[in-house]
């Protein structure tokens, strides 16, 4: 039988969390064609089709050529979907197959489990964002005018959608629920959030409607980080997205701390 040490070092205390995070990364690695390559290729096709083939026929927006203008929004969209999908499917599958019991029974704090599962989404989203940026640099010259702001914006985006994914993974009763949120809510909000156009080109009514779309602010923060331009005050947009990220984080933490949706 094992002899348990009475005092543990930080490295020993954090070991279960690090193994859980490694497991999340292993899952991404094992499914790399689906988890990494597919989203990068599909987003890159948007850049090629909308940017390069149609770009010449669309006039510059805010002094930026169309092929460059859409890249930040497409990178944001890819990161949103991948970070959300990763967390929601990982948590849902763990519940569905009940191997989450193995994790819940382990000597891990609830916040460590929550963080471990969400960090998988953060790192997958970040990887896809970087790969998509590198791929797009082969075909368009995308500047990074506000690097500090861009790092903050990307961090907030990834935190928001990774923890939101955890929440959806906890509430989902079937795989369809996860797909519903992704395809019926996130995707339309992203497309209508100014990825392909400036809201200044819309009628006043549609411009006002767009301002009610939370993804719009998120796209603006990432676009400002890259191009130094946005349709709204970038700090206001960052404030809105930060509040949403905190809501997702608190919601997810509450569910893990109370065990609701996680334990019968």
């Amino acid at each position: 039988m094992s002899v348990l040490p009475t005092k543990q070092t930080f490295g020993e205390r954090s070991r279960p969390f690090r193994w859980l995070l490694e497991r999340e990364l292993l899952r991404i690695y094992k499914l790399w064609t689906q988890t990494i390559i597919a989203p990068v290729v599909s987003s890159f096709l948007f850049i090629l089709v909308f940017g390069l083939s149609l770009g010449d026929r669309i006039k510059a927006i805010d002094g930026v050529t169309y092929d460059v203008y859409i890249v930040p929004g497409l990178i944001a969209m890819a990161m949103v979907q991948s970070s959300f999908s990763n967390s929601s499917t990982s948590v849902f599958q763990a519940r569905f197959d009940r191997y989450i019991h193995d994790i819940l029974a382990a000597p891990m704090r609830t916040w460590e489990i929550n963080l471990g599962m969400a960090l998988g989404g953060v790192l997958r989203g970040l990887t896809i964002g970087i790969l998509l940026l590198l791929a797009s640099l082969f075909v368009v010259d995308v500047p990074v005018r506000e690097p500090g702001f861009l790092i903050l914006a990307v961090l907030v985006l990834l935190v928001m959608f990774s923890f939101f994914g955890v929440v959806v993974g906890l509430y989902a009763e079937s795989f369809d629920h996860h797909q519903f949120v992704n395809n019926i809510i996130l995707l339309p909000l992203t497309f209508l959030g100014g990825v392909f156009y400036s809201v200044n080109s819309l009628s006043p009514i549609w411009e006002a409607v767009t301002h009610a779309n939370p993804i719009f602010y998120l796209v603006q923060t990432v676009r400002y980080g890259f191009l130094g331009r946005s349709d709204v005050d970038p700090w206001l947009a960052l404030g809105v997205t930060t509040v949403m990220a905190i809501v997702a984080l608190v919601w997810s933490s509450y569910l893990f701390a109370t065990g609701k949706r996680l334990k019968a």
């Binding site: 039988m1 094992s2 348990l4 020993e12 070991r15 279960p16 690090r18 193994w19 859980l20 490694e22 497991r23 292993l26 899952r27 094992k30 499914l31 599958q93 763990a94 197959d97 009940r98 191997y99 019991h101 193995d102 994790i103 819940l104 029974a105 382990a106 000597p107 891990m108 704090r109 065990g259 334990k263 019968a264």
Partner: protein, 243 residues
Amino acid sequence: MSISPPALDIRGLTKTYDDGFEALKDFDLRVEDGSFFGLLGPNGAGKTTLISAVCNIIRVTGGSISLFGHDHQTLHARRMVGFSEQDVNLDRFLTVKETLIYHGGYFGLSRADAHRRANELMDIFDLAPKADTRAPKLSGGMRRRLLFARSLMHEPRLVILDEPTAGVDIELRAELWEYIRRLHGAGTTILLTTHYLEEAEELCDEIALIRAGKLIARDSAQGLRDKYDAANLTDVYLKAMAA
């Protein structure tokens, strides 16, 4: 002389599910360190609820659970329990070896210790030829072996086995019995739930009978036979459940 705390001390445990079903009510149970304890009862009696509460995978409504003198929710207490569930609950993305290694990691083993222990258990349970096979591709018997091996990865002081031989062939059942006996012989406390009465009679020092969330009797197999004036444990069970 110091008296070691019981392996499991449950006091006033109550569990009411969200749909209002009361699975356990004011349930008390004490299992001594080093014992081999069996829980018997019909489906829905509360056996799985009881052990799920001990292992922190359900929310308890009331009462207290302590493991070797520590509250069951503390990290220290959790490290001392190994649990093999009745239903197969394996991570579909992991191979046999990874399943063992990651479980060891979740319970605090270092990488070197996790690899060493995984190799050891794969040899013991004849899992080595399937080391690189993912759980969904294993046969039912191999999955059962893997579940059992996983629960032992971190060398727990209390091993909880929920119907460990349900649906396995006679050969594997005999193998598992043999290993469980050896484990107990080495000082590990065993808490076993089973529907096979001969399994309880063969293995357990003490047996508790549960019905509708309440403990109705506990004693050795011989003690239960005497108490119910029964020839065998099957008669004991039928009389106790009909009473």
